[in-house]
Symmetry: C2
Subunit: 145 residues, 2 copies
Amino acid sequence: MEYTKEYLAEFGIKPSIQRIAVMKYLLNHKTHPNVDEIYMALHSTIPTLSKTTIYNTLSLFVESGAVSSINIDKRNIRYDADIKPHAHFRCKNCHIIIDLPVPNVCHEVFSISDIYKDLQIQDVEISLTGYCQHCQKDELSETEE
Amino acid sequence: MEYTKEYLAEFGIKPSIQRIAVMKYLLNHKTHPNVDEIYMALHSTIPTLSKTTIYNTLSLFVESGAVSSINIDKRNIRYDADIKPHAHFRCKNCHIIIDLPVPNVCHEVFSISDIYKDLQIQDVEISLTGYCQHCQKDELSETEE
DNA sequence: TTATAAAATTGTAATCATTACAAACTTGAA
DNA sequence: TTCAAGTTTGTAATGATTACAATTTTATAA
Ligand SMILES: [Mn+2]
Ligand SMILES: [Mn+2]
Ligand SMILES: [Zn+2]
Ligand SMILES: [Zn+2]
């Protein structure tokens, strides 16, 4: 609670019951939840909580740099309190999203290479898709999304 | 026309007026168009063309591996006839999408590294966002999406 | 404390890309 | 020609996100 408050302050975000609750949830659940999951988890303890507030709050967090948004799932935007550079893998079967380390060399490419020097790069998102270790399938039977 | 037909055949896709038109458009317009742009461009020459057909056709192309879909734009899915590995940059101001080369070492990471050996990786998408050379801005005045 | 303005939250309605679905059409083999 | 499979079409449904105005909370100054 106090920690979360200070954490928000580091990004210049004024605390409120709702903001603290959302940030705390993200810090404790590194599962890349979407808006609905956050709402479901919180509205039992804060019954007046509105889904619009979740949207507003997450937009604020992302713009402030406290949280990163992940577009790997076409259905919903997902959110991640881990703002260190890393990649994501999404299983096409069970939809789990797994954090993947990426060697620094690979990230440095975008900041150091001459090729990109005309661009003001702010965010890098690396998304992999396929099947996780529990959902492996042979190349032949490709049916589901 | 004949070339496009043969191109589709390489991916096991049966040709039809509509499919040929969509594929031809993608081969000639490497601007990462969305469904609406494709529809607008084609329905003057094929007045009976339905938007649903564009959706169906593009899904078929993506599943067959003839085209890749790009999720860099939260609003719409974009499509790319260039299926060689490369990254994309999207300008937050003018929304242009630019192709970026990525050194092979960076792509090989995902296939060679031991870290990922439990995963059956099928697709890799690398998306950068920021401001293009025409839309550069100083860090202070951050307003727009 | 009280008054007042700014900031934050809330609920409802609108938007709009995508999907679902069933009917109509096309194709090609029997 | 017949028939079934494959393809296209139009309309309706879905559902995440955004817009917006009203309400509530917070901060500040009189
Ligand atoms: Mn993550
Ligand atoms: Mn491209
Ligand atoms: Zn899985
Ligand atoms: Zn630009």
